[in-house]
Symmetry: none
Subunit: 121 residues, 4 copies
DNA sequence: GTGGTCTAGACCACT
DNA sequence: GTGGTCTAGACCACA
């Protein structure tokens, strides 16, 4: 559970939580049946509201990244390698389609985008 | 002035206006000293509040895309080709850095990103 | 009549006219009984509205810098050197009091202001 | 939060707010991470519209004096002494350049300005 | 409760 | 008629 909150970011805190945890699950850094910390504990450590943590946990559960057992806590779903890959691909594809649309709206071709990416690093 | 508002989008209306107009200026579709429609007229045509149009126009003026003259109207700034290119590059670079950071957070390398872009089209 | 209009300035155009003409009168560059150009002529030359010029001329007359004779035109008032000096002093003093108040509001002493002025040039 | 609104002033209310608060921050009267009153509360106390307060707060945020967090409130930026000094210098320099230009337009030299300042107090 | 966005009016200064 | 400012509401997402 290595999470960093940026209070001044435009991105809502609950979504920062969601993004970082889902990312760690997808990358296999958080493995199946791993027990997430109780929301109150997490809230204290991250210095955010309990409600905020709850919202992030709910969204993680809704999208199948974790499951909760009343009275026992929240656990990372035990997903197969294939399932994780599919989730990752879906997330990335959806974002990439939006991004490309945006760049094209500014008059860039796919080649322009790729060239710019290459020149940036 | 070909603008489309999506009321169901997450993106605020004033920002949709800003994005589309700044994009048209950058692409040269709106040229220097072009007179934008009066904010009240634009508000009626776009079916949004005058305030919303005003907010978009303000941001456009703040970033140097347009200039306003009380009692006369709002006009597209007469920018050189170089200035337009610089504005475009700045906007694109800022977004691209965020995007790449996001993709890397999901474990993608720059090569992965480029390959995926190529395979998408 | 050497006047420059800045359309993008915050200062209203009629006031730019007023400031520049009154300044020229105070400095003696425009002498008594000099005939100002007709407002329509001035409007064309300066590329501003007739109404704008009229407003500036009216304000000049109201403050005693010029006088108008119906059907004949507007003329610079024939003021004595002493009267011009008094006008100048009054204008400068009024502005300076406001300015000093502003600087003091930001925590500057009179010494600070003077030092800053000296260091600026 | 000691603020006075002058409804009869030429200066817009939102700018009076901006000027007074930024001034207090620059002078160190409002320190870093100080929580500003909620915009609705401020609006009631100052007897102005919420929108007007919002506009002032927005400009303060844009210039780096404060930062806002949705659902939490608005806070004074935690700026170093150096950063505060730089902000102050920038604001003062910009105004002073305009002022000097005005006085020179009336035929005053820098010496004249300084002498007049000294004689005023 | 907090800030962010939006509406449908209004009045004013400027052109 | 133009932009600039302001009001008094409202709804939403976030904490």
């Amino acid at each position: 559970m290595n999470i960093k909150i940026n209070n001044t970011s435009d991105k809502p805190i609950y979504q920062q939580l969601f993004d970082q945890i889902s990312s760690q699950i997808i990358k296999g850094e958080l493995k199946g049946d791993f027990c997430l910390p109780p929301i109150r504990t997490a809230a204290v450590e991250l210095r955010v509201s309990v409600i905020t943590v709850k919202k992030a946990w709910e969204e993680l559960e809704r999208q199948g990244f974790i499951y909760s057992m009343v009275g026992r806590g929240c656990f990372v779903s035990d997903l197969s390698h294939t399932e994780l890959l599919n989730m990752r691909t879906k997330i990335i594809t959806e974002k990439m389609e939006k991004d490309v649309e945006y760049y094209k709206g500014l008059g860039m071709s796919l080649d322009d985008i790729i060239k710019m990416l290459e020149s940036m690093y």
